[in-house]
């Protein structure tokens, strides 16, 4: 089973030939109706879970402290809960974070037209093109071509940025096992990324590793920042959906050989035909199938998820309170006459380091379940750093008076 091949029992023999990188999923659907019809369901899913689900609610209204944490950055304008794959195109086009200067790079993970376009124009050109112009060429949401090779139906890396990031680590996905690909295929998109240089070249910050400490080191060494926080003046980094990075950081399930697809695309029965459901969403909505294949007691595991997510939510709330307190202290310190600039800079660094750790967990999508221990370890560090930032601000100002008001709120 070392070879990366699709399962033998596909159910149906091909009725039509599918062109390489065919963007139109409905054509693939003629050969594989079960997979196509289940993928279609992702368009209309709308059920909410305690911390996730498919309803497009505003994450900013859900946790208002984000307005202070993301102040001055596009994520404070509009930031919603994610939903099914077929909504990718609609949602990226409707989001207010996009404007006339937005690069085409924003389409990278939103359409099955991409593999063809990357092949035709190259990723550098793709990313250089403005979002509004590139949009002319794009009409399909996420589809078969983002995950499969038409001829063999095997799972492949379609995003050049992932191919390059793996190379940078000396890895070649073509040597991966089928079970590994059941996780890596999601890494085409469910990963932290940034835009390198003027060309807004899509890049994954993995050169030093995929742990939060490695990523923060990578950004620090290249002196990268997404924006400057208007109140603290710190050079900030925004983290985005590091689902793959957190899950693969020695989590219980990852080390046990479990793949993303095991939980999010469990095998389903249609009569006697067995296939992977392509209706990808929260496994809590179909726990019987998603967890039941491995856990005899589904009630037990879903209850554990609730316990873990509540522990994480509570710990994350504390981090948010601490970071906001740090921002206020630094802002006030900066206003004090003859403030110690060196210490102030240290305080700003601590703010950056604290918030990017918090965001690594906040932007991740399982409220910690993908890797509970790593999640809580990171949040503990985030709060510690935020409190140190607050203290450094006081040292910089030379007087605690700057925080009295804020502190006693």
């Amino acid at each position: 089973f070392v070879s990366n091949q699709p399962s033998a029992d596909r159910g149906i023999a091909p009725v039509v030939e599918i062109a390489d990188m065919e963007p139109d999923s409905s054509l693939w659907g003629l050969n594989f109706p079960n997979q196509y019809s289940t993928l279609k369901l992702t368009e209309t899913n709308n059920t909410r879970t305690t911390y996730g689900g498919s309803e497009k609610f505003s994450r900013l209204e859900q946790s208002p402290s984000m307005l202070e944490l993301f102040a001055g950055y596009s994520f404070s304008i509009e930031y919603n809960e994610d939903r099914g794959h077929l909504n990718s195109l609609t949602d990226v086009r409707e989001i207010k974070r996009v404007n006339d200067t937005t690069p085409g790079t924003c389409y990278s993970c939103k359409s099955s037209d991409n593999p063809g376009l990357w092949d035709e124009m190259g990723m550098a050109q793709f990313d250089k093109t403005l979002f509004k112009d590139l949009g002319q060429k794009i009409s399909e949401p996420i589809g078969c071509a983002n995950c499969h090779e038409a001829e063999t139906m095997r799972l492949i890396v379609t995003n050049p940025a992932l191919d390059e990031a793996l190379k940078a680590q000396g890895k070649d996905w073509r040597t991966f096992t089928r079970q590994e690909m059941r996780t890596v295929v999601c890494a085409n998109c469910h990963v932290e990324y940034y835009f390198a240089g003027e060309g807004k070249y899509l890049t994954f910050p993995w050169e030093d590793g995929t742990r939060i400490e490695d990523i923060s080191k990578y950004y620090a060494e290249m002196g990268f920042m997404d924006w400057e926080h208007p109140r603290s003046g710190a050079p900030m980094i925004k983290m985005q959906h590091p689902d793959y990075e957190l899950f693969t950081a020695d989590s219980t399930h990852y080390k046990a050989g479990v793949a993303c697809a095991d939980c999010h695309m469990p095998y389903t029965r249609d009569g006697s035909a067995k296939f992977s459901t392509h209706n990808v969403h929260s496994p809590l909505l179909n726990a019987e199938a998603a967890c039941g294949a491995c856990h005899t007691d589904v009630g037990y595991v879903t209850t554990r998820v609730a316990t873990i997510q509540n522990q994480v939510r509570e710990t994350m709330d504390a981090s948010e309170v601490a970071i906001v307190a740090a921002i206020e202290a630094i802002e006030a310190a900066a206003k004090t006459p003859n403030v110690d600039e060196a210490l102030l800079a240290e305080a700003r660094d601590l703010h950056r380091e604290s918030q990017l750790r918090w965001d690594f967990i906040s932007a991740e999508n399982s409220m910690g379940f993908h890797n509970p221990e790593e999640t809580l370890r990171i949040l503990a560090a985030s709060t510690d750093l935020a409190r140190q930032a607050q203290l450094k601000a006081v040292l910089a100002a030379g007087t605690p008076s700057i925080i009295e008001a804020a502190y006693n709120q």
Partner: protein, 158 residues
Amino acid sequence: MKIALVIGIIAVLAVVGVGLYVTDFTAYLGNNPSTCNNCHVMDAVYESWYHGGHKQWANCNDCHTPHDLIPKYIVKAQSGYHHVTAFVFGDIPDAIRAKESSREVVQENCIRCHEETVSTMLESSMEFDRYCFDCHRSVAHGERGISLLPYQHSEESK
């Protein structure tokens, strides 16, 4: 009322009829594991049993049916009915898991074969209130019971 009754009877007959047909009835009076595997939905458990620790010692019925003659055929009738109706009416659970009743049957059989080994445990003045397979999760069908490929073949887990 009468009609309902008639329909009811017909329905039952239908089920039994189909049952006899799809399940090649006489086969189920026997103990051949492959007869269980007549059903594709039994593939996973058959596979896991086949590769599991007990193949050389025990077949399906050694564990899944009581061993005093009469109850054996009652259980077979019951589960056979479950299986066939579930099959015919298509309400096959997402994950097929042993019902409490089957667990108790299996437990009796674990003890039947291992009585000497577990005598000390069972002699306690307090009831032995758990299943052997709460701990021995892998003896029968592999650690994850019905967990499907490719998980059981994954490189990571080895």
